[in-house]
Symmetry: C2
Subunit: 405 residues, 2 copies
């Protein structure tokens, strides 16, 4: 690890000062080389899948690659190359009282450590995103994907070598113990992005000396207002719960106004879509649902399970969401302008929707290109993270001999 950290110092200087054209040439070559090495990557992945056969299906699904998925990995790198450079943007510019011309300009953050699990495509996505944005990355993938990650990394490294660049621009560590060490190395690392289990994220944010952007759990909620389009409400409810229950932007609870008048139809439609519903006693008894416990409202089920709660008014819904939610994504279904604005303003979450599914909370769906992740932190980056979130800024100040009085 010592060598890896020390090598980032030189790598950081080199990668920060490349031109965007050169960066894109390297990225496009990486994309080509991934396709050429398809068999090699698939063989490595087969090993991982073999060793992982006792792991849950959800992990296996994320781990397993096929020819199409490798095409997607390659395409994703090409897309990153095609993004507008996030560097050198003038974010603000002004002249101060002394005639200094002050420019606030976007620059790389420096060294970014990303800790992730199971999905081998994160290796190339994050490697490419950090390279495009002039950062060094230190990748720490899950042990279940080690062979796949190493196979992909080998292609990226060989491409860097082709262009006479140090491989430490995309560094990789594989020992599990090293996370504890990594999060103390604030002299070398500028930012940690953990993407993974709740426990891992808790451990890192409690113990890191380095700033952390969390990709934590999503306890998303939907509120159905009294005045709403019933069909819209039901379609969005089904989409937000069932289209990908394992995704962090799926809903866990529907709050429904007592006079919304669609409760029966909603429950029926959800049941038809194999959703298991929990509710308070009166509703549970009436519709033959599971009786809910208060702590269920904090749950990210990651499955076709949903809480339904009847509320007296929008304030009760907003209070519930700000109390039990994880400030990720929430939606209101309403035809009432005042209620829509109230919900948009008073909900303290990264993404607040009117009449649309929370499932859109995603960098790709927002049009940001390849995914950095969805931040549940409030500082620096919040919600779907575009490549811009991998930059910081500095002030460049042009003087003509000014001194401070």
């Amino acid at each position: 690890m010592n060598d890896i950290l020390k090598n980032t110092i030189e790598a950081k200087k080199i990668v920060a000062n490349l031109s965007d054209t050169f960066r894109n040439e390297v990225l496009n070559k990486m994309a080509d080389n991934i396709i050429k090495a398809k068999d090699e990557i698939l063989n490595a992945n087969e090993l991982d899948v073999k060793y992982a056969k006792d792991l849950p299906n959800s992990i296996l699904k994320r781990l397993k690659l096929d020819s199409n998925k490798i095409d997607a990995i390659s395409n994703s790198i090409t897309e990153i190359a095609n993004l507008k450079s996030p560097l050198g943007r003038i974010l603000d510019g002004f002249e101060n009282y002394a005639g200094l011309k002050i420019r606030k300009i976007s620059v790389p953050i420096g060294v970014i450590a990303v800790i992730y699990e199971s999905r081998p495509n994160v290796t190339s996505d994050v490697g490419a995103l950090c390279f495009k944005s002039g950062n060094v990355c230190i990748l720490k993938g899950g042990k279940e994907a080690l062979n796949s990650n190493k196979a992909i990394l080998k292609i990226l490294h060989n491409t860097l070598i082709e262009y006479n660049l140090p491989t430490s621009i995309i560094s990789f560590i594989d020992s599990r113990e090293s996370i504890e060490r990594l999060i103390k190395e604030d002299k070398y690392i500028d930012l940690i992005i953990p993407r993974g289990g709740e426990q891992l994220i808790q451990f890192i944010s409690s113990n890191s000396k380095i700033p952390v952007i969390k990709h934590d759990k999503g306890v998303c909620n939907m509120y159905i207002d009294k005045n709403c389009n019933a069909n819209e409400a039901i379609q969005i409810a089904i989409n937000a719960k069932t289209s990908n229950p394992a995704a962090c932007n799926s809903i866990e609870t529907i709050l429904i106004h007592k006079d919304a008048n669609i409760l029966e139809m909603l429950i029926k439609s959800l049941k038809n879509n194999n959703v298991i519903i929990k509710a308070e006693s009166n509703i549970a008894n009436q519709f033959d649902l599971i009786h809910i416990k208060d702590e269920d409202y904090y749950n990210e089920y990651g499955d076709n399970i949903l809480n339904i709660k009847v509320v007296n008014n929008i304030d009760e819904a907003i209070n519930h969401i700000n109390t039990y939610g994880s400030s990720h994504s929430e939606c209101i279904i309403t035809d009432d302008y005042t209620m829509a604005e109230k919900f948009l303003n008073e909900i303290d979450s990264a993404c607040v929707y009117v009449n649309a599914s929370t499932r859109f909370s995603d960098g790709g769906e927002f049009g940001f290109g390849a995914e950095v992740g969805i931040s549940t932190s409030k500082i620096h980056a919040r919600g779907p993270m575009g490549i811009d979130s991998l930059t910081t800024y500095k002030y460049q100040i042009y003087g003509q001999g000014q001194v401070r009085q």
Copy 2:
């Protein structure tokens, strides 16, 4: 402390949803009330100064208030009221492929804890800045300023009460032990801003579960290039070192190109301004200076002491600065376009100057208004922090029934 933390939950909701007009009315009333309570504040300050008479002069100077300083405290609050609201700004807005109208809008961060020392004006400045930006603050002032801080706080609280607002919008804790507790309360607090000694900042960033924006030391450097205006170089050197040696934006080291040809004149001028100079043996012997040790280059002297080092070229200067500096503020003195651009681009510091004194690195000098501080962090806010740095954003998304395919 439990009550203070719990009360922030309700206070956060209230302060976030006030109108800017109302906020400004309250702030202007605070400014008036500070003037009316001048005697009260001065009496309290006298107590602090009496107890502190054994403390270093630099602390006493920061601690001591007089009638003019209280006018300045009041004016600063009025200035904050006059700032354009940092909230509700649309930072970005676009329509995605599904026709969702996505707005990225600035919102308060939530609860901000600020830990500071000696200067009683920080109490009102930070209180007013957080109020203007819709945040709750938890203030933790130095014990040497306790009476002054409490006197100022009383005015702010009484004004909040006049307007039927909870005093917990500007919370205050005074026990020293409580910092250790405070930095673990990530359920209640969204951001910690420590302004104070290096040890305090180290302790907080190593142990905090909450994101930290550091206001750390300033080891600022000046590089005098071969082609430079000699008078400009010398005037800027004197200003950057001697105009306020205790300030974090003062320089500690001058790197000078071996062919700059102004070394003798520079040393003479600095000596005439009572600067004690350290240098490597050959220069030290030649000009009767103190012999430098390598670790001196890391020092923030806070005093009229300066290192001078002769370098062979700009790369050596840039390497030196990126190695020994604290990434705060640096300047180059040059008439050479290429060197100016190289320095601006390759120096990894919050503020990089051409032909101007580093002493301008300050929110007030930049035209940002009252000071939040100067961040030495790279994440979220870097360099002089305007009131905008006390905001984050959320995405508000306007749909017409869209679901994700």
